[in-house]
Symmetry: C2
Subunit: 249 residues, 2 copies
């Protein structure tokens, strides 16, 4: 059977999702522990290949298995083996051709900025600390220009290989709760470093270095140099993926 899992992780100590030679990754730990648990070679396929240091509340992965363990019990059994910074949030059986990357979905990312005079130890792993006061209203105005279907080439890391840099952003909001600013972006897909470049650009707008009204020309430039810097990975969390189908685990 094919099993879908929802996976939460603190990415601080990982070299991102995808298996690679230079360090431990989320995918690698899942493959290793599923293989040990199910006593057969298991390879997962993930929806979002999050970067080094990026977190998730609900990335999605599938794998095929011959096990007789009920699909919904696998999450509980696997969590007994996983380290404290990776926790599966549920598992269920899906059709044999269901793949987390090859169908319509709405992915949501949050970029969190701790905007205060002093760092706060408890938030050092899941926020980006930014000392200068940011104007959230300006950031909100700038964010609104990103909603809709656009060519986001200016917000894509140089060298990324993709067929098209056109994506649709369904919503891009900015909220302040005390010292914590959250940029929340929902879209049908994201280019490499896209949310971090959006965050880096909105921070420049919030800090007065750019005007909200400059966003259309940044998009139109279709040039990475037109946008702001790539904000640090630690502030980024993938919060979840909604699929059009009715599968819910």
């Amino acid at each position: 059977m094919r099993v879908k899992m929802v996976v939460a992780y603190d990415g601080t100590n990982y070299r991102g999702w995808q298996v690679q030679p230079n360090g431990i990754t989320i995918e690698e730990v899942l493959n290793r522990e599923l293989t040990a648990l199910l006593k057969e070679p298991v390879t997962v396929a993930g929806a979002s290949r999050t970067d080094s240091g990026v977190h998730s509340l609900g990335n999605v992965a599938v794998f095929d298995t011959q096990t007789k363990m009920p699909a919904d019990k696998i999450a509980f059994a696997l969590n007994q083996r996983l380290p404290a910074d990776i926790v599966v949030q549920g598992s269920c059986e899906v059709p044999a051709d269901w793949h987390p990357r090859y169908q319509n979905s709405r992915k949501t990312y949050e970029y969190r900025i701790l905007n205060r005079t002093f760092r706060m130890p408890a938030r050092r792993f899941d926020t980006y600390f930014y000392h200068h006061r940011l104007d959230v209203e300006r950031m909100r105005q700038a964010a609104a220009y990103l909603e809709g279907e656009h060519d986001f080439k200016s917000f894509c890391a140089v060298g990324a290989q993709v067929k098209t840099t056109v994506r649709t952003i369904y919503a891009c909001t900015v909220e302040r709760d005390g010292d914590l600013i959250t940029i929340r972006v929902t879209g049908n897909g994201f280019l490499y470093n896209m949310v971090r470049i959006i965050a880096g650009t909105l921070i420049q707008v919030g800090g007065g270095m750019r005007k909200p009204e400059q966003m259309p020309e940044i998009l139109a430039a279709a040039d990475r140099d037109a946008a702001g810097p790539t904000a640090p990975a630690c502030g980024l969390t993938m919060t979840g993926i909604e699929y059009d189908d009715e599968i819910d685990c």
Copy 2:
């Protein structure tokens, strides 16, 4: 001059506040780094000697120094030397006889419970994970019995040496925000393990093992065995101390 500091820390990797032979403590790190920064022997005196693994957003400490560095700049200079899990939130000069333990204050602690089916990696250091669904309304009813002046001997670790176990709790509230339950207690002082024993008892009430109406008899027993277990340190955060004076840093 005497300098007051407000100190935030993630207590996960410390043996509590107070210097002791069996591991590194917050007080020890502050003494060491202040001594190096100010080039004279410095010893801090703290308001709350928090336990191993307990966190703080605003513990208070004072120290005496001959330095010519302005008191309010010490926080910034010290933070350059401190590890990422200890961050001073401000410093200011206080009268030479001002001591954080010997005057009226209102201390607030929060005990946070992550109450959901699966653990969440991002909250593993600052919450206590509790799987069974807790009834917050019952916990709130029980908490209300603790407000006011009472003998809290039932909520004090056995063996603690204190003149009196009478304390005043100004407010004890319980709130749920999604999966996160926060018990917030403000009082004029706390006995050893008092908030963690309150939390352990309220969890039993929330889980149906005790009734809210049992709280008066638990207090009346004046016996540690009458109350619930001591909830784990990781869920506890001292959030701040208010003093009657006008000093604010």
